[in-house]
Amino acid sequence: MSNVMTIFKKEMRTYFTSPIAYVVLTIFLVFCGIFFSMPLFLNNQASMRGAFSIILYAFTLFVPAITMRLISEEKKSGTFELLATMPISDMQVILGKFLAAVTLLMIAVGLTGTYAITVSLLGEVDAGEIFSGYVGLALLGSAYVAIGICASSLTENQIVAFLLSLAVILFLTFIDKLVSFLPIGGASIFEYLGAEFHFRNIERGVLDTRDVVYYASLIFLGLYFSALALKRRF
């Protein structure tokens, strides 16, 4: 565990001593802020539903951006060889990096709590809905981070890692929008594959095992394939 924490601390420091965290957080908050405030007064509803959708879509760009360099950079600069010959397992390295990216993501999501405060000042809000919405975002965000780390472990090139995770995350985010074009039988499968579909379930306040299992298996698969990818060395 302490090995995981060592890697975690190092990654957090890298995020916050370089411009990465500040730039990405700023862009994320500005982006979400614009799209949150524009329709707020038009709709005349004290709800976070709109905000959650925006955050969820922002993740598709935000997560690849904060995960792309995590492993690809180590491979490119050769520092991975250093880590791989230290008394620390590959999985501990991956977990440390995963936790760091999830933490940064949670900081970003936490800062959108200001929207919830704004909304609650404007009218009566459903506190339960907001809480379960954030739980859903945490699960969905963690799953996306695992995918981003997996993409990053497959290549030495950050841009390739970014595009790869962007493609997979976009697929998972929008697959259930295609449901209406499909015959009934295929529809439910695609619906189950869709990350947003499960988010909507959790947001409604129903913490169903199926939804949790979906995100947990994405996290597991992402981290497992990262470890497999790191085993291939030249």
Partner: protein, 310 residues
């Protein structure tokens, strides 16, 4: 102690290391020589648990690099080729990070870091970002990283690469000092380095061991022959006289000028007293000896012989 037995590493079609067997005893400094691409780095990467062997085994202090990988890694300090570092950290933070991964206890961490800084001469650059360091300092920081946990075994992949002559001498001295208490394997393709630092030499070529022995054996022992250089003023049949001497294997004429000065190489088995015999013969025949010496084969000659013939 490091024991490599019939180690083979295959990358697709290419066999980077081909059933290599050798052993390094505690307290030995082993120079690992070979042309680029000979398999030095691959062998070191297997010993340091970065790569898994395709077949064969490597044991470090009786621990297998595959079975007891994490335990082996604790015993080894490793400087990878081109000393990869985190460029966005400063020197102290970097060493502290390594100390944490190495699980050096909090109480002795400060001492370990300070010691590594002092041994590697990093005192002037503590607060600098690694990315701003010159290649000499980066190499030293890589070395500091390798010795931080006071390992029994040091594996250094081309530690003097990219350094200027003064820095090379410093690093060599450092390796020699470290070698007093530790087992050291270091790779290089610079022959003087081996001559300067280590007693034992292992030459690897195309994945196979081409030579394993002391550096003296390397310099003298390959052919078992001496080459004696003779420059003299003599008459025309001098060469025939030389060739007829006992034990002379061959006489190669290197040059002859108009004034009758001849330069030859006489090859004879070592210890046959050939130089004295040549001198006596010259006196007898009335030749004027201008120069008479034994040419040692240079390491370069030997190296070229070993690595190009096969």
């Amino acid at each position: 102690m490091i024991e490599v037995s019939s180690l083979t590493k295959q990358f697709g079609e290419t066999r980077a290391v081909d059933s290599v067997t050798f052993r390094v005893s505690p307290g030995e400094i082993l120079g690992f020589l070979g042309p680029n691409g000979a398999g030095k780095t691959t062998t070191m990467r297997v010993i340091t648990c970065y790569l898994r062997p395709t077949s064969g085994s490597v044991e470090v202090d009786g621990l297998d690099v595959v079975e007891d990988s994490l335990e082996v890694r604790k015993k080894i300090g490793y400087l990878p080729e081109s000393a990869p570092l985190y460029l966005d950290m400063n020197v102290v933070d970097y060493l502290r990070f390594i100390a944490e991964i190495r699980r050096i206890p909090k109480t002795s961490m400060r001492g370990s870091v300070l010691n590594a800084i002092e041994v590697c001469g990093l005192g002037d650059v503590l607060q600098k970002l690694v990315g701003q360091l010159s290649s000499g300092y980066r190499q030293r920081l890589g070395l500091a990283q390798a010795i931080l946990h006071d390992p029994e075994i040091l594996i250094l992949d081309e530690p003097t690469r990219g350094l200027d002559p003064n820095q090379i001498i410093e690093i060599r001295d450092l390796i020699r000092d470290l070698g007093r208490q530790k087992t050291v394997i270091f790779s290089t393709h610079i022959l003087q380095e081996v001559q300067a630092v280590c007693k034992r030499v292992l030459i690897i070529n195309q994945g196979k061991i081409a030579f394993d022995g002391s550096k003296e054996e390397l310099a003298f022992g390959l052919t078992g022959k001496d080459r004696i250089f003779v420059e003299m003023r003599a008459n025309g049949d001098a060469l025939d006289v030389l060739r007829r001497l006992d034990h002379v294997d061959a006489v190669h004429v290197l040059g002859r000028d108009d004034g009758g000065v001849t330069r030859v190489h006489v090859e004879a088995p070592r210890g046959s007293g050939m130089r004295e015999r040549i001198f006596a013969t010259a006196v007898e025949q009335g030749w004027v000896l201008r120069e008479l010496r034994r040419d040692t084969q240079t390491l370069e000659d030997v190296f070229r012989e070993l690595t190009t013939s096969s």
